[in-house]
């Protein structure tokens, strides 16, 4: 069919309205994510083709309204709506609670936007509510659709209504709400501003919308009008005891209440809330809350690493077999066997863990538990200058830093996201474990557990200190107060969960994969220069680089080139550290070699270094992508390198001063 053109659609709605499911249903896998300009909040776009149109959908951040200037999400949404001016805005609402959810669409209608109202979760609402959507559509003058995004019901209809809204564009007169006792002031100010402007401009001005006030300031007699608005605000506050914002919000909710009464009919009571409250009285309980959270996290780990482990091993073995079977010889064979295949292997070995992790996170989110977890952990996390929601990504970091950093997407404020991302590399991931196991079993036999525990604890303590430090250095005075809706518990829908998991996993594969892969090839090249040299030996370029770095490691007690090279390769993936040492000391056996080269003290200092220094390439790549900033990425690399070096030197020097091995 011939393309009739593009339709640009924005998807808006509350954080818990099922907006993401609607987005996934509309666009399927035809979506991509990036960041909103200047901030790290995720921007999702996708498209679908329908009735000859290509419909481009932008998923706005979950918002409650457009008035709260402090919320970064609302700022983004507002800027997008007013500056990009999409053809149609679909507002997704939770039909089980129209009283609250209609606030956003009403506010948008007042401003004259071209809306489609999506009554989502209609299947749940039908259990106790009859909604006359035809009547609602007639009163508001916009298309209204009933959907249940988790089953896919009504999605076709939604597509149809989007086209309909686009083709017969409503006039942008805007919905008129009667503001009662404010009407006199509104009329007076409207005459001052000029009747050629829409009425909502005056209302937004009374609500102290800074963008509108700036616009008015630029008018011919702008300064005068601003003075009049101020005087008007003062008069209202004096006369009615409330400032205009409060009265306006109240009147809007009043209008909605009347509207909902007209178009709905309750049948029976909801028992779903009673059950939800009962679950909450246990899950968010003052005493039980944290133990339950710990248990949930424990099972998450079990699933992700116990279940993912065997699959990872299968993939790993497949790669080993594959690299053994590459035919031929010469540089191409070597590039495949030592560069490309190990590079792909490093990416794909993570895949089962990551997919499972996203699966569990999606289930936790969709069931409603995630909001509770954040709430329960809020107090503890506050002492670190972090939000309760940061606890989940940080704990996931013990498994693998990469998905942990991606899990920070659930955090709303930019400050919380960046602080959390910056300290996640200090959570000792599973890839660092082989290093600890090898060195502690050689040098601290019988005390491996204590050594391991001390390293994990060191990471946590450093995370607290670093978070606190970065907080005071870069984010003075920005406090996000805790106000959070706790959505009712729901049974997650299998299809919805799988779609969301797949979308998140695919994204990881595409973006992080590219970077890991290219660095692997680069390392292979360095290991083979100059030509004819033994791969990754003392005389290769990488060996020479190792030699030039090793003097720097001297004060930490491991100033030999093999240690330097293994740490250098370890930046690729921390698992590689042990493997590299294995290759370098290949002839005499690893355990013997390290027991000759290291002392217990230098072994411990080496482990500290491995824990802290530069996050692996995959982590760096994902930090860059998620913070959308080279500066934060550079800071993450440099602070960890510096901190790792200082601490390992400190441990070695202080230990040597007392001149006794620490076992």
């Amino acid at each position: 069919m011939e393309e009739k053109g593009f339709i640009r659609v924005a998807l808006a709605g509350h954080p818990n309205s099922g907006k993401t499911s609607v987005f996934n249903r509309l666009t399927g896998s035809k979506q991509h994510t990036g960041n909103w300009p200047g901030v790290t909040v995720e921007k999702k776009e996708g498209y679908f083709s329908y009735m000859g149109y290509k419909v481009i959908v932008t998923d706005l951040p979950g918002i409650y309204g457009l008035s709260s200037a402090y919320s970064i999400d609302e700022r983004i949404a507002k800027t997008f709506l007013t500056e990009e001016n999409p053809d149609v805005i679909v507002v997704v609402v939770d039909s089980t609670n129209l009283d609250r959810n209609l606030y956003l669409p009403i506010q948008l209608l007042e401003m004259g936007f071209n809306l489609v109202l999506d009554l989502n979760m209609i299947d749940e609402a039908r259990k106790f509510l009859k909604i006359n959507s035809t009547e609602l559509s007639r009163i508001l003058g916009i298309p209204v659709v009933e959907t249940a995004a988790n089953t896919g019901e009504g999605i076709e209809d939604l597509k149809k209504k989007i086209i309909e809204a686009f083709e017969k564009r409503r006039g942008d007169k805007g919905l008129k709400i009667d503001y009662g006792r404010l009407e006199d002031e509104i009329e007076r100010l409207w005459n001052l501003v000029g009747r050629e402007y829409p009425r909502w401009v005056v209302i937004r001005a009374l609500e102290e919308d800074q963008d509108v006030l700036n616009m008015i300031k630029g008018l011919e007699n702008g300064a005068e009008i601003i003075e009049e608005i101020k005087a008007s605000r003062d008069r209202i506050t004096r006369k009615f005891g409330f400032d205009p914002e409060t009265i306006i919000v109240e009147r809007r909710f009043g209008y909605i209440k009347g509207l909902v009464r007209r178009v709905t009919e309750r049948k029976g009571t909801e028992d779903r809330l009673a059950l939800s409250d009962k679950i909450d009285s246990i899950v968010t309980n003052r005493i039980l809350g944290i133990p339950i959270f710990t248990l949930v996290m424990f099972f998450t780990f079990e699933i992700v690493f116990k279940l993912g482990g065997p699959i990872s091993e299968l993939i790993d073995e497949a790669f080993i077999t594959l690299s053994g079977r590459i035919p031929g010889e010469g540089p191409i064979h070597s590039l495949l066997a030592e560069g490309v295949i190990p590079g792909l292997r490093a990416v794909l070995v993570f895949l089962p863990n990551i997919a499972l992790l996203f699966l569990v996170i999606t289930i936790l989110e969709d069931s409603g538990y995630m909001a509770r977890a954040a709430f329960v952990m809020d107090k503890i996390m506050h002492t670190m200058g972090l939000h309760g929601k940061s606890s989940i990504p940080m704990i996931l970091g013990f498994g693998c830093n990469v998905p942990a950093i991606m899990a920070t997407r659930t955090l709303e404020s930019e400050k919380d996201r960046i602080l959390t991302i910056m300290v996640i590399p200090l959570m000792s991931c599973s890839a660092r474990l082989p290093i600890y196991v090898l060195f502690s079993s050689v040098f601290f036999p019988g005390k491996e557990g204590v050594v391991l525990f001390s390293l994990y604890m060191l990471g946590i303590v450093l995370a607290v200190v670093v978070a606190k430090l970065l907080d005071t250095l870069f984010f003075k005075g920005e406090v996000a107060p805790l106000v959070m809706e706790l959505p009712p518990y729901r049974m997650p829908n299998l299809r919805g969960v799988l779609i969301q998991t797949w979308i998140r996993t695919e994204l990881f594969l595409r973006k992080a994969g590219m970077i890991i892969f290219s660095v692997s090839v680069l390392v292979w090249i360095l290991g083979n220069i100059p030509f004819g040299v033994e791969y990754a030996s003392e005389d290769s370029l990488i060996g020479k680089i190792g030699k030039s770095i090793s003097p720097l490691l001297e004060p930490a007690g491991f100033g030999f080139w093999q240690a330097a090279v293994s740490l250098l390769f370890g930046i690729l993936a921390k698992e590689v550290v042990v493997g590299t040492l294995g290759t370098l000391y290949g002839r005499e056996g690893l355990r013997e070699a390290i027991s000759r080269e290291f002392t217990p003290l230098s072994a411990y200092s080496f482990m500290i270094m491995s824990l802290i220094y530069i996050p692996c390439v995959a982590t760096v790549a994902v930090i860059r992508r998620e913070t959308n900033s080279w500066r934060w990425t550079a800071l993450a690399i440099s602070y960890s390198l510096l901190l790792g070096w200082i601490l390992s030197v400190l441990v070695y020097q202080v230990g040597s001063f007392f001149n006794e091995p620490i076992n």
């Binding site: 709260s68 402090y70 609250r100 909001a371 106000v483 706790l486």
Partner: protein, 79 residues
């Protein structure tokens, strides 16, 4: 019957209801609270005092102590 008193939401007992009378202080989260339906005139019920969960319009909202001390409610109390 008791008489009506104005107290911070923080001081409601479990299961106690009150009508929001005002939100004090010009702090930045106020617009957010109002958009979420915590406006003067709305009835709130304290479901859990520690940590604080309130019910408004049939929705559960978790609040930090700082914010809960700035929402004033009218409630009937025996004194």
């Amino acid at each position: 019957m008791g008489r009506s008193v104005e107290v911070p939401l923080l001081f409601l007992g479990p299961g106690e209801k009150g009508i929001i009378s005002r939100i004090v202080g010009g702090f930045c989260a106020r617009a957010r609270l109002e958009e979420m339906g915590l406006t003067p005139g709305k009835e709130v019920e304290l479901l859990s005092p520690n940590p604080i969960i309130v019910s408004v319009d049939g929705v559960r909202i978790a609040l930090g102590y700082g914010i809960a001390s700035k929402i004033l409610v009218r409630t009937r109390r025996r004194i």
